[in-house]
Subunit: 316 residues, 2 copies
Amino acid sequence: MSDRMGPALSEPIFNRVTIIGLGLIGSSIARAARRMNAAGEIVAADASEAVRARVLELGVADRAEASLADAVKDADLVVLCVPVGANGAVAEAMGPHLKPGCIVSDVGSVKSAVVAAVAPHLPAGVGFVPAHPVAGTEHSGPDAGFAALFLGRWCILTPPEGADPEHVAKVQTFWRAIGSNVEVMTPSHHDLVLAITSHVPHLIAYNIVGTAADLEEVTQSEVIKFSAGGFRDFTRIAASDPTMWRDIFLHNKDAVLEMLGRFNEDLAALQRMIRWGDGDGLFELFTRTRAIRRGIIEQGQETAAPDFGRRDAAGQ
Amino acid sequence: MSDRMGPALSEPIFNRVTIIGLGLIGSSIARAARRMNAAGEIVAADASEAVRARVLELGVADRAEASLADAVKDADLVVLCVPVGANGAVAEAMGPHLKPGCIVSDVGSVKSAVVAAVAPHLPAGVGFVPAHPVAGTEHSGPDAGFAALFLGRWCILTPPEGADPEHVAKVQTFWRAIGSNVEVMTPSHHDLVLAITSHVPHLIAYNIVGTAADLEEVTQSEVIKFSAGGFRDFTRIAASDPTMWRDIFLHNKDAVLEMLGRFNEDLAALQRMIRWGDGDGLFELFTRTRAIRRGIIEQGQETAAPDFGRRDAAGQ
């Protein structure tokens, strides 16, 4: 798969790229930018001394700084890769040290709240192009990252009103260079779409794993041990980073509650079908959702491999 | 992985094994039994002429019969691999043709309803040991099967009261031979455990994919195209066989409604945490579910590979 990233660029898109927060996403951006020569110099900033040491050990950045002021000095692109709730404080601390012409971006799964938290702290002459790479795994930390994480995945840019089109174009070029498909939409539409395709699914996965654990405790019997396809997928989702997901739910509250309301209405209808034995109604929905899955596979966002997350059993 | 199935048995456990319904599960049992020499002769029965022809083409059975009477004649083990709702009618049709000493089993995901539907049609002298191999993919049909499907997975046996322990032991030996771990429990406990670990997760996956499709239609915008980890896993689950799942929900109604009730209570509590900004409550649940995931990986029922179903992106 690494081959599919194609040849490196002959010259960098940005001379100096500073990445703040070297977790799964931040370290993957660093790795991908290095492999593709999308950045002349890569500077890492992380509050954790252990992470900074590990980043240098892994060779994913040229420098690792504890001070935000040192890290963003003379940067042409600064990418915030911290939990959504931390963006405001980071922007406030680094704002005065950004050079004119610098572009700030982020990778948050929530966009309206990030725009509201970050934009006020950026000085005039600094661009702001929020981004959300729709990619990830349930693992965290600098060791979890890999260069091909964004390959063939969507990166959604949500420039606030009045953003400089040249800034948007340059950030778009950067994400395309490291393998993403790029789409531009408003922050609020992004938040609604992601609420139903990502945030509510995560919430539900967390919820059902919790419900099953309670049942295990109450019945004093092994429940989770027999988990099959359905549940194992849910436990994988429910193993995602707790801090990141807490922040997402707190910062995309309105869209999540709206989508949860629709989900609950639909679930109540399904529950009623089961209670009253409406087999035709169930069959009709199940047939429709199967077709949707085929659509996703055709769009190349997924493979048809019958693995349910069990890579070693596929294709036998 | 095929190597891990180990060497074939020196002599078969059953002389003649008849498999009724050659879909994913039925054809996988046939393949596994053949590879392990667990059956002297494998007879396939399927109502579909196309399936019978394909089964012979694939070489997964020695004979393929349209008539149930012909198929079960002199069989030592008969395994019903039809949708749960069809078991009663099949049992009624084949019952008079079973030889004394024959053992009947099935693979249904629901057990109390299967016991109630099948047992009355079996003549005296015929054993009945229902089974549920907790394994599968979202694909269907004889081509979807593979010999290693059951390897390292649980197969739950739910003998009705008064079942002959020797029959139970023999069916257990058969499932172990084709790679399963075997556990014995009552039909009603099975149905409750599977409701929360499999049936409700599937229902929720079907539901959320439907909710997202509705949003796409209403907003006339692309929603599903941006589906990330969470949602893509749900669409895979929601692509499972519609007939099979309709039957499961109709035949495990009480346990599913009970578990759905618990799920809804817990979800309401989570929804409230989001509305009132209870970050600590969210963080606590998310941390707890992450630990459960680790438990499953430690029990060997899952790998830690960070693939979210994307096999080609893992390990980069």
